[in-house]
Symmetry: C2
Subunit: 360 residues, 2 copies
Amino acid sequence: MSDRIYNFSSGPAVLPEPVLRRAQGALWDLNGTGIGAMEHSHRSPAFTAVIERAEASLRSLAGIPDDYRVLFLTGGASTQFFMVPMNLLGDGRAADYVNTGVWSKKAIKEARRFGPVHVAASSEDEDFSYIPERVHLSEGPAYLHITSNNTIYGTEFTREPELPATVPLICDASSDILSRPIDVSRYGLIYAGAQKNLGPAGVTVVIIRDDLVEAGRDDLPTMLQYRTHADAGSRFNTPPTFAVYVLAEVLAWIEDQGGLTAMAEHNQAKAQLIYDALDRSELFRTMARPDSRSRMNICFRTPSPELDVRFAAEAEQRGLSGLKGHRSVGGMRASIYNAFPPAGCRALVDFMDEFERAHG
Amino acid sequence: MSDRIYNFSSGPAVLPEPVLRRAQGALWDLNGTGIGAMEHSHRSPAFTAVIERAEASLRSLAGIPDDYRVLFLTGGASTQFFMVPMNLLGDGRAADYVNTGVWSKKAIKEARRFGPVHVAASSEDEDFSYIPERVHLSEGPAYLHITSNNTIYGTEFTREPELPATVPLICDASSDILSRPIDVSRYGLIYAGAQKNLGPAGVTVVIIRDDLVEAGRDDLPTMLQYRTHADAGSRFNTPPTFAVYVLAEVLAWIEDQGGLTAMAEHNQAKAQLIYDALDRSELFRTMARPDSRSRMNICFRTPSPELDVRFAAEAEQRGLSGLKGHRSVGGMRASIYNAFPPAGCRALVDFMDEFERAHG
């Protein structure tokens, strides 16, 4: 680790070092094939093994039932913001959304192009500092959409909203997927850009129940229909092969760590270290309500924007990189996804203590 | 090269070995930043330098005029098949297409969803074995679309169709972009999946003239409007950062080779080696007309499908990989993009000679 620093980036984000070491070898020669992982045809036996292993690991880790498809797409969550309503709205029904911040709002904006949107709950009244307790559904909505973790405000759902069985729950899980055990059967569709908890930017995971694949409109551009990718095993066109390779390696690493239960303990312990420091501090404070705190993105600040800037700059000099908060809210943000090491959290806490002694 | 074999894959395809060596180092630590190339925020100074370098190299190599934007997108050519007509049709005008094979047909299929399509020329009458000499435009089409190189049939345009200045030429250049000098000013929009001549799968290059950015519909999903990506410098959402990094390195490698004039000579010489062998052979024949032969994908066959299978299998055993033709046409295909080494072409010719002596 000597030549690498602590990378608190909110995504793309730090990856497990054993994965990077394996990827270095695979770039030159994937599994003794004499061809590198970026250079294999997406129809080759070598890449077929990679994508099948990625799907098998994801199914096993998350306990994905047989009536769900796993798709490896591109375009990130921003593409799912419109693909979901484009496929599932248009018959006059409303789509319900929980508004927990910037990313929810972007999803809502795209949905409005395809049908009526009902905001079933919102925390905008208090600067998105909490996760709403209850949702108020419209009558017979096509689905309810949530953003399970909110990177900019540092809040996270601790459990799914209670819904009638007829309303599919759709979740943008980009920033906390596979960070803890999940009951996939409670969802109709889960999507996630890989670049936080799963791998590199450039591949998007979609877990979708068969009935929603079927329900999707069939008059859309071929690439925008979920069925296209479900029918073709995510190889209707050339998938982002190297990103899928790295994803497969990250999933294997999560398995090696003990799966999602172990990952949840590990993530909880890391977050607790930093929240404990914030709770005992008289200089720093966190904005998220205690019952809504994210284990992935810990947002905090000092009483002054100038001191915030100084903190982030001094931290950077000490090899604690990427702590500047999102431009829309300021302050600081420590993003500590699955692959972020506990030692980095301890180093941050040590520096917070030191900074507080100097400036408190 | 000892541990690597000759990879004739049609894409993803072989990459320059110096690029792979640099990428191995960058995976761990990009330019001494202490953070790997897959792990840097897409808003970081380090990645900003990468994407700016990629654009500058592309502009310099291809001589892209100032009134064109360079976009780094995802979704491959298959996504451009619908994004082009989705943005540029819909006002009742027709779109004109030259049909030179499977990929043209896919582009035509998607365009029909958005407006009338006129096939301005086609070589379907002779199994797509040639590039049509003349195009017959409809009245005032929104654009004319061509596929500059046809991977499945092994044909390639040698020059652009003559068009009135009012008709933008749109080109799927996925399989021959940057393989020779190009006069970008003759085009309205050029797109290319990177995984053949430019880099890895997962990033799509779009070169688009400003007036076509402006002309695009503004009622589309945000991610599907060219202006979104033009306005945001390809960072409206998280781009495929590592794929862009590798692309930048491939472009630097092309510069090191002497740019597009040198690349054209190099590619011509490689193709000539194989076509000369085919022309003197009594066993093998190539399907493309001499005036339409692709320098990128050389399609050939023996008189019997059984012998074709045997050829590809024996070649594979000798480290000549990926020579099986596309499933829709059979036979063999040698894909020899920019990064494919001349020694691999010589090895193929040697094996063809040997095979002919045994089976001719």
